[in-house]
Symmetry: C2
Subunit: 581 residues, 2 copies
């Protein structure tokens, strides 16, 4: 016991010494052995540039490239955006170690700096599609620098929507107030403050949906609480558009960092005592990252189409925008979290370091899954709309129109009984297969709801009980819509290397959707043999995309300064300089 | 333009005022309408206690219940653990808003407090199974309070393993140094400090695997770098055991919080203007949470078995412990992150608040996926071991022994062609199905590797190319091993309510594994009809477990103070008290 006591006391003393120090002493330098040497991936023969990266970027950013680049430049060049040099390269991102007061002060200075340089010109006054798209593009760039700054600006500038959200808190009958309280809290209650100061006349508020009398009584033309709730949700569309697009850009940053790292980091050797292998030369590592790359390309096209719909909106397109923004918001934000998680793990402990952004993104962007409508609720709403559409059209014996459902008017697609590699890669087969799944799931869903109703359940209860098919359908609808925008983007191109590369990405996207959704086997859209052929195609597509990986992340057009140290010379940026101690 | 300038300037002024304030003003109180009223779930008839909660806790904690409770009490009663009252209830968890120095000071005080009360008695000197289990139990409780404190103690007390890890940094030939550097960094380099002070004689270090001469030259009896790497990894076993078990307890906290919240929070009504429905009464919400509950029960039994193996280890059991600790570490930590993500979303914005723990856990425990061996690498190692085992046994025509592979010696299991509900719920069918999957995947994996070799690939290359089957096999092995420990735990019980409840949980666990792994359909272990029957059984099991949910999370034996405000009266704890402003 004495001996034990002595040992423990000594150790506690040592630990206490440690705990009372502010920073650890430098005692070791990483040895630069084989696996710890850095060579820029651009210098390697295994990463040739075989297509026009500028053209690819134009396609995936879609609009306002010059405006984006100018803003990237304004942020990178200013001293206000926490520029610092690591491994011989400049990076910008907020200093999260500052106190809340310091961070707020910096946020204010950044807004003033950008304001003085005309970045926000037209954000309040402009309302044509051109202004909308410029605003969206710049908002995206700001979000790539700092999520909080983007939210702050969103809150600050799009006030109409916010006045509505805010009033909801003070309305007793409204069943969704907690959702909004959370939303307000997460942005630090800046809105409340704005509201206090703005003193918006009562009669200007909410008068499209409901009103509040001078005595504070709540009046609404919409008596049904659920319908009223849906009406309140509709102004959230703008938020869902920016969240969807923002998720795609954050995934791009994470993938650019992780893929660059995987092209320079080696681990283990295949032959005994042979050279160590680059992470991205492992088929399993390709399988982890390259499907995510294909997905983010696919989602880029869908995001651009959503923005175009939004910017050119008409009263007639309101419903479609609501559906697509719900579908994409849920799909893209879930995909973003999954991408960040995979990228974090693929970067090992380096992925956790704040300077490498990915771990920090996980904490920042997680909230988007429940922001502006919980993802699960949005997906259910979407399936409900599709069901209503289905019932209306089939009851009236009318053709389907809108939401991309026109395929329902055609004969059922036929899938070849034996799939070759080239059939698998054809867009005709892919869209046929996706149409088949969506159409059959919609039919099954309608049948199941109707079956429950015939056993005495109310329509709403029947819907709630059929949630499994509702979820499957929501996924089928979203993935088909994304695939369609991808094909449309390809169709604008003439034959050439960019079109070929996009074909590979589209096939990988489509085949991943198939491989990840057991519906294809469960409901027999693919035979076991065909599903096996699809599964075998995935590693082939990955290995064909491997040499293009560097060019594909370069095509994102994200400046180096917005990536992170492990995307570049991570050996230097991780070394401890003894001379500084 | 002037008008625009005026509007923007005014808004910037307002925003500036906001940003310069320290805390937001209180301007609103939540209105307590229907969906915002709290009633303790214990008072509801829909949450009856129908089984012995104490007995259930004894089974799932497995050992040292009194020691755990005493430590829970020491933490909850002391003033050192950041006790605070919210919604009329006391909670403990570290104050993460303190400066790093303050947090370190508090950590030190907490260690001294626990030391003075004999918590660490036997942690260094004891080495029998009884001491090991007590140490593990107390370490688990500390980890439930604070991850950092648990890591600090782990680092502090298990020095033998750490001396080895540390020396690796200074060894040029070793290819894994970055992994360890990260590991050390993440614990604030306390080890380096210990090492400096400890001045451990060179000849005591690493001599089981390798040595360093007085001139600093690295010597090892193991010439093959990969084998040496594997030898170095083996002392990490202890870490993998604690990480595995820790992941289960963190999932338990998150589920207890989220399920309690779902039993008191209402949203939307099914009938027009009807009463709002409790979240956990939605079948889709049950489907999100209850399978995770079943999994954490299953993993509890596997964790106990792993600890028993570890505490009673012999040279002969070393390999099995290595395999099971690798399998469980990967499976449990991935499952933990998934559980936390789902719970966070199921709590909405409330899940993000630090006081509610779940969001914070996501940041804290994410690193476990790559700690003590990257999960993907561990899973691959495991499949490699199974393959070697398979080749040895089949070549020598010997029966399989160990790792639970004895089923390979029996005739292939036969699955009934038409599954009834009671067949699906029988443990015989479940384990047969899991055995069938594992056995067939092992056979397919060996065949694919051999096929690659016959085309001139090296064994290592062939293995690397067969990663898809390796992953499927790793999952099949882990899930079968977990199911087996669950069945063994059940077999110790006499018939009664506890056994019945465990049967439901086991069936839900097994059927979720089936529903989530497309292998069952892809390789025909289940026909499409049978897979559909399994899928239909899942919501049934969920609805049968719904009334037991409260008792099932109470059975975790976690004190209220270790949960969070939304697990209790979240209306009160979220209200802003105007009188305080």
């Amino acid at each position: 016991m004495n001996n034990y006591h002595h040992r423990v006391s000594r150790r506690i003393k040592i630990l206490r010494n440690h705990l009372r120090r502010n920073s650890p002493p430098a005692t070791a330098i990483l040895n630069r052995n084989n696996c710890l040497s850095y060579s820029p991936p651009e210098l390697s023969d295994s990463n040739p540039i075989t297509f026009d990266v500028t053209e690819m970027r134009r396609l995936t950013d879609g609009h306002n490239l010059d405006d984006r680049d100018r803003l990237f430049g304004l942020i990178t060049q200013s001293g206000l955006f926490n520029r610092r040099e690591l491994g011989g390269r400049v990076f910008v991102s907020p200093d999260y170690n500052q106190s809340m007061e310091q961070q707020r002060e910096m946020t204010m200075k950044r807004i003033e700096y950008l304001f003085d340089r005309g970045v926000f010109r037209g954000w309040l006054t402009g309302d044509g599609p051109r202004d909308e798209l410029r605003k969206l593009a710049l908002h995206e760039v700001i979000g790539m620098y700092d999520h909080s700054l983007a939210i702050m600006l969103g809150v600050f500038l799009w006030s109409e929507e916010l006045k509505q959200s805010l009033l909801m808190i003070q309305i007793p009958e409204n069943s969704s107030s907690i959702l909004h309280v959370n939303r307000l809290r997460s942005i630090g209650l800046v809105v409340q403050q704005m509201f206090d100061n703005a003193r918006i006349p009562r009669e200007n508020l909410l008068n499209s949906v409901a009103d509040v009398s001078s005595s504070g009584e709540y009046l609404s033309a919409i008596k049904n609480a659920d319908q009223r709730f849906a009406a309140f949700l509709s102004p959230l569309t703008y938020g869902r558009v920016t969240i969807s697009v923002g998720a795609v850009y954050i995934s791009k940053i994470a993938l650019a960092i992780t893929i660059r790292y995987a092209l320079t980091r080696r681990a283990f050797s295949i032959a005994p005592n042979g050279p160590e292998v680059l992470l991205l030369d492992y088929p399993s590592h390709q399988r982890r990252l390259l499907p995510l790359l294909a997905k983010v390309y696919a989602m880029s096209f869908a995001a651009i189409e959503l923005k175009m719909m939004y910017a050119n909106r008409t009263p007639e397109s309101k419903k479609a925008i609501h559906i697509f923004s719900s579908a994409y918001k849920a799909t893209f934000t879930w995909n973003n979290m999954r991408t960040l998680q995979e990228c974090r793990e693929a970067c090992g402990g380096q992925g956790v370091k704040t300077e490498n952004r990915i771990g920090h993104f996980m904490s920042e962007f997680d909230v988007h899954s429940t922001f502006e409508g919980d993802n699960n609720v949005l997906m259910q709403q979407m399936s409900k709309t599709l069901l209503a559409e289905y019932i209306t059209r089939t009851t009236k014996n009318e053709p389907f129109r809108g939401l991309g459902l026109e395929h329902m008017n055609k004969p059922w697609p036929v899938i070849p009984s034996q799939l070759t590699s080239s059939a698998i890669r054809s867009s005709e087969f892919q869209i046929d297969l996706f149409h088949l799944r969506e159409r059959d799931l919609l039919r099954r869903f309608a049948a199941e709801v109707s079956e429950y109703q015939s056993h005495g359940k109310s329509k709403e209860s029947a819907f709630i009980l059929s949630y499994q098919l509702a979820e499957d359908l929501g996924r089928a609808f979203s993935e088909r819509a994304i695939l369609k925008t991808f094909m449309e983007a390809e169709s604008t191109l003439s034959a050439g290397s960019v079109k070929n590369v996009l074909g590979l990405l589209r096939s990988l996207y489509a085949m991943m959707c198939v491989d990840e959704d057991a519906s294809f086997l469960r409901y027999g859209y693919l035979s076991i043999e065909n599903a096996s052929a699809v599964r075998k195609e995935v590693p082939k597509l990955c290995s064909e995309l491997r040499p293009l990986a560097l060019a594909l992340v370069s095509s994102f057009g994200i400046p180096d300064a917005f990536l992170s140290p492990i995307a570049y010379n991570w050996v230097d940026s991780n070394s401890w300089d003894l001379s500084q101690h």
